[in-house]
Symmetry: C2
């Protein structure tokens, strides 16, 4: 067991490294040439332009205003200053609600810390359980005197721990209840906000049954009777549909190629415009080193023209070939009410045909999965469930195999001719010291990606649901391999084996006994992963390096520079499980080792500030799900609460305080009942859309904008990104030309790379409708 | 272990008693004075009249036609003759689908019996495991030579059992899949059948939020905009509502009293009409023995008049008192489409207010539960869950307590003055022999009622859902206390204790080892409960005795005789768990002791014939849920399949055939995947109503009956039964008068006692609309 001194040293190291990260960040962010690394969000929103164009040459790259360095923690209050409604407007509801998870951590654990320090620490400290143990030659550290370990066997003092557990449970549930209500109302308000969004009017219809006589589009048209039909039901509803086209892979390649050509053309044009004396020439062969010398601008112009023709031909093929059309469609309705009705009801007798669901937001759509048929979904889910089980419990086996290969003997066996190289002592040491660790590290780095591939294979149709699914798998993996794996040392499959052969009442005991012993380990874990790790996040080291490398070698045009930016995004699938892990640690240790709680509080506080800053200044919003992840977040905190109660039950029963068991079992039952209540009370707000709301909104819109051309508004919302890109490209061809004519005016144009649609949509969804659309609607 | 001879003896006894029951039934059912006991269904339908009025005096009571006795099993083919569509028409879809459960039993187990006898019996018989055991002084019976017990430890022959288990699983799943599809399509066809039913147009809205300014009816009217409103959404929808009134208890008492008075009046009037010379007199005091002598007919006439006034006053109070109105309403719409939309969507932001769901059929409504508020539901569910847990595992404790009280010593202690009586040896023997058993027996008899009370407390709003819930609880109770309790002897709480202290891998082993040993016990159980029990069911002994007692002592009028009939009903809450228990036994024993399967097949065959007969001739249909119970039935068979697989896994691992475990685990996973597929594929048909269907139906109706007065049709469908009874009573007063005038014509009038509404509704819902309603609709 570590002493207080050990923990103090670890804390000092980690605080120091966190401070270094913050200092480095404070200096780097003020340099203009890093501006696109630390403020990409503002560039993406078109609210900030490159500072390289103004002022003296040096000040383009280095900030010489020394005053700016003085307030190096200024970013912290700045990050906290933006009020929540503005934050929702700036970065979306998802981000704002995501930050609330950290806030909940603070709300839950700050009072718990006070309570457990006020009650449990004195109770633990004044007992002499460890003294008694010491007589039996069991060693212990100072920190254990603060923990439940110091209570003697069968003591009546355990009642105080049970009372505190009750208080913790009720307080946590109270906070969760409040938050669930708050988030639900935020979501409803967001959905009902006066912004018009295409997904409010659109339903995704899947598994449209094939018909030999009719195309998918005709089928859809006949299935949902339009305005002309005299049907009594959808009479106030008109619809038009957008076919979903697959097999657009070749098209996507062509479009990409064209974009590249376009970039080169831009580059040469800029070069030429700077130096009008000699026209740029290039060689057409390998990497521009061999072949005929041609005029570069002419060459690329002709190449682009050729490609444009090819793309047009390919588009026609894709659109007209019935084989490339998959049996899914985005169906848009005239009113929100009709959409809500259609999305939430079953259409036909056969519940596997004409599946209708809310269409995800356009940028949230995961296109490749739209075609999966129903039966395949069950099979795929089964396969993924089995695969995930093996991944969680048996991932150590292939890694151990790789590690054995990566040993000296393994390499010598596999490749005897490498022997002389390997035998060099420096290389030998490297292989022996690093390779085995690297195999594991590599696996852990790729784990989120592996989980994401699993979710994709399962057939979810939106990025948000993919991330939610990956998050819950990641949490499970962490729980089994980090939490249980740290408590009971040994690989997961060994644990699994021992759990299967242990009785249901012994498992909590085995775990419960080990928990107080691992407190110091988890304190160190929190400091490394939670303190220094979070501080490293704000430094954005990887994007910083990559941006500057790209900037140096590749960036030719302003557009390229924009594309060299890598703002990243929130990463719900990795971030949320991390937070949940801290909830689990906090709730498990609050009644056992209160000394751990302050470390967790520091994590939550720090992470809240850092991520608020990142969300405001850095991260790009990839999609907007309207906080659809909240039921997951809530559920996992409740699960953590139940785990904590069960483990305390196990711990106490080994401490000969078995008469307390019924109280803790009752608490578990109450917690489950609380969860069920919350599920019934709040979850519908996240999966359904109230009709009354929809109706009110429709009526309001009809009154305020009687001449709205909804058709024009929705026409192109759900186009496959490839077609979008084509369109964009054609726009951009013109814009680009225009730009290159009015040379070198810094572009404020919004980027559409990471947010291919939102920019257009948010433009269109603001109260004023683009003029050209409006004109069409008022003939 | 029982030998083949023992089983043969038990079989002989049970077959004999079953035969006696059938013979008694065959004789009794032919007697005219039993006609109302054995054919009540036909009386209820108004298709059969009392035979007492025709022919010679003796033949009114005894059937003297000896030819009729010859074909005493004629009822069997007669029961099988009615084709299914006619059966649905005659007794409802619920009954027809219920019978299919027995058919599935046959479909599953007949091929399984052939397979396991063809494969497993030779394999088992030819091994010598038991011979080896015998050398170690383990005794065994002949029947064990046919079972898996005869296979030697670690033998390769176990692979044949695994192969058979695979075959059984796939065959069962195939049958289940087919049946689920069939039942789902039957349900949809039934719902879409051309009968108009009030529940197709009605939604039950609960938890209507209170408003100080508006009454519930006004709230409903404003919430669902009617025809007059220019709202765009429900524009094709009009609605009217029916308030639900509680606190109608006093009214119900008054109505009951009036009915009784009416019966007496009828009795005296009949008496007077038979003997016109002396007017009947009666005494007004205690039981008609004391007090003033008055003219009976005048007395009751005036009493009834007084009561009628009281009832009218009370009705006004109940209707007008706002406190007696609960915040729920039945809301009827103009079209099925609108109803489907409203029932399947959420109305307001707060998912606990304005809860809408399909209204149950009028006679299916459980009125007392309509007022339960949302938060109470969670609490009640928690309480019931905890109560059921204790009921299942600890019911033996109070019974043991009662048993200890019911012992000689207990009684002597509690009531010393009884000592001389008790000490009489005959009474002593009785107390010692019977009382303890009676306590347990009484509990088991009242168990379904206790479970029903639990379900009622939970707040379900329809009788069908109450019965479904009770059925699943009863199944669980049976599983724990009969199945597990027989396998591992000991009270349930002792089992629970041992399970908690056993490891997850040991539990299947403990159970698996005991399974082959208990085969003979279960064979006896099947013969007693499944053969003789089913045969006793058809004899209707209890209703027979009660009917004749009532007939002798109480029946005064023809109406009384009708009320003395007790047709009973299907009793889903007790019947279905019984069948499921046989599925469980069959699936568990099919790979272990194939000798058990034929007994189960006989049960399914016998029960199918008996219940088909009962449904056609006896049982009254209490409600029609459209086979909504099928997902439960399907689910429980799948669970039985999984239990069978897990127990076989346990058994094989004790037989040192552990290398087979992965194959059985894979089978479990596959079975679960199958269940999930079925859930997704078919369950929606039982909980949702496809919109397309509704729309087609609406369109069709509009075309065929353009002048339909739906309002008139739906007006009184959802009235509280008390008001219904009042109305009925007033009708009946007139009908009764008319009847007593045209003296003693046997009434063919349909009974409304057990089916207060269906008669009226089925009349109204048949293609032709009552003339008076039609007249109003065509002014």
């Amino acid at each position: 067991m570590a002493t207080l001194g050990d923990i103090g040293l670890a804390a000092a190291i980690n605080i120091l490294s966190a401070l270094i990260f913050f200092l480095a960040f404070a200096i780097l962010r003020l340099q203009p040439f890093n501006d696109r690394v630390y403020f990409p969000k503002w560039y993406l929103k078109g609210l900030r332009s490159s500072p390289t164009q103004t002022g003296a040459f040096v000040s383009k790259f280095v900030n010489l205003n020394f005053k700016a360095y003085l307030g190096f923690v200024n970013w912290m209050p700045a990050a906290l200053r933006m009020p929540e409604p503005e934050l929702i407007d700036h970065a979306g509801l998802d981000s704002a609600v995501y930050l609330r998870i950290y806030l909940i951590g603070l709300k839950i654990f700050v009072p718990i810390a006070f309570l457990s320090w006020a009650v449990l620490v004195p109770v633990n400290w004044t007992d002499d359980g460890l003294e008694q143990e010491k007589n039996r030659n069991v060693t212990s550290s100072d920190i254990d005197k603060l923990s439940i370990s110091n209570i003697a066997y069968g003591s009546q003092r355990f009642w105080s721990h049970i009372a505190v557990t009750y208080a913790i449970t009720f307080w946590t549930c109270y906070i969760l209840l409040k938050e669930y209500g708050k988030v639900a109302s935020m979501r409803l308000q967001f959905l009902a906000s006066d912004k018009r969004r295409p997904d409010q009017f659109t339903v995704l219809a899947r598994n449209i049954p094939p018909d030999p006589d009719e195309s998918v589009s005709e089928l859809v048209e006949h299935f949902f009777p339009g305005e002309s039909s005299r049907s009594l039901s959808y009479s106030s509803v008109f619809m038009f549909f957008l076919e979903v086209v697959c097999n657009a892979n070749k098209l996507a390649i062509l479009v990409k190629k064209k974009t590249r050509m376009q970039n080169w053309l831009d580059y040469y044009q800029i070069k030429y415009s700077r130096n009008q004396t000699n026209r740029p020439y290039m060689k057409t062969g390998f990497l521009g080193l061999r072949g005929n010398k041609v005029d570069a601008i002419d060459h690329y112009t002709s190449e682009i023209e050729k490609l444009s023709e090819e793309i047009a031909a390919e588009r026609k093929t894709v659109v007209n070939d019935p084989k490339s059309i998959i049996p899914s469609a985005f169906v848009s309705f005239k009113t929100r009410w009709a959409t809500a009705v259609c999305a939430q009801t079953q259409q036909t007798r056969n519940p596997t045909l004409w599946l209708t669901e809310w269409a995800p937001e356009p940028r949230d759509v995961y296109w490749p999965n739209l075609a999966t048929p129903y039966v395949q979904l069950t099979i795929r889910r089964l396969i993924v469930a089995v695969a995930f089980f093996f991944l969680t419990f048996f991932f150590m086996i292939p890694i151990a195999f790789v590690q054995s290969l990566a040993s000296i003997e393994g390499i010598e066996k596999a490749a005897p001719w490498l022997k002389p190289v390997i035998e060099v002592s420096f290389i030998k040491a490297f292989i022996q010291g690093f390779l085995p660790g690297i195999a594991l590290k590599l696996f852990l780095i790729f784990l989120p990606a592996i989980l994401m591939i699993m979710s994709k294979f399962e057939g979810f149709t939106s990025l948000s649901s993919l991330e939610r699914r990956s998050a819950s798998r990641y949490y499970l993996f962490n729980f089994v391999n980090v939490f249980l794996g740290s408590i009971i040392t040994g690989a997961a499959f060994e644990q699994l084996d021992s759990f299967i052969h242990q009785s249901a009442s012994d498992i909590p005991k085995t775990l419960g006994v080990a928990i107080p012993l691992k407190a110091t380990f988890f304190i160190t874990y929190i400091m490394v992963d939670g303190w220094a790790g979070i501080a490293a996040e704000i430094l954005m080291l990887k994007p910083l390096i990559i941006y500057h490398l790209k900037n140096f070698f590749l960036v030719k045009t302003e557009k390229d520079r924009e594309e060299a930016m890598d703002p990243g995004s929130l990463g719900f699938n990795t971030g949320e499980p991390q937070i949940q892990f801290y909830f689990l640690l906090g709730l498990v240790y609050a009644p056992v080792t209160p000394a751990l709680i302050p470390f967790i509080i520091i994590f939550f506080g720090l992470a809240y500030v850092v991520f608020r800053h990142q969300i405001i200044n850095v991260y790009n919003q990839e999609y907007e799900s309207g906080a659809a992840f909240w039921p997951d977040v809530h559920g996992r905190v409740v699960v953590a609460l139940i785990i904590a109660q069960v483990l305390l039950l196990g711990l106490l029963s080994t401490k000969r305080a078995a008469e307390s068991s019924p109280f803790l079992i009752a608490l578990v039952v109450l917690t489950i009942a609380f969860h069920r209540y919350c599920k019934g009370r709040f979850e519908p707000a996240f999966v359904r859309y109230p009709l009354q709301e929809a109706m009110m909104k429709d009526t309001l819109e009809r009154a305020t904008e009687p001449n709205l051309n909804l058709k024009g508004y929705l026409q192109s919302a759900y186009n496959h990104p490839v077609f979008k890109d084509c369109d964009d490209d054609e726009d951009e061809e013109f814009t680009e030309k225009w730009e290159s004519e009015s040379v070198l005016v810094p572009t404020k144009r919004q980027s559409r790379r990471n947010t291919p649609l939102p920019s257009r949509i948010s433009g269109a969804s603001s109260p004023s409708i683009p003029e050209d659309v409006k004109d069409h609607s008022e003939p």
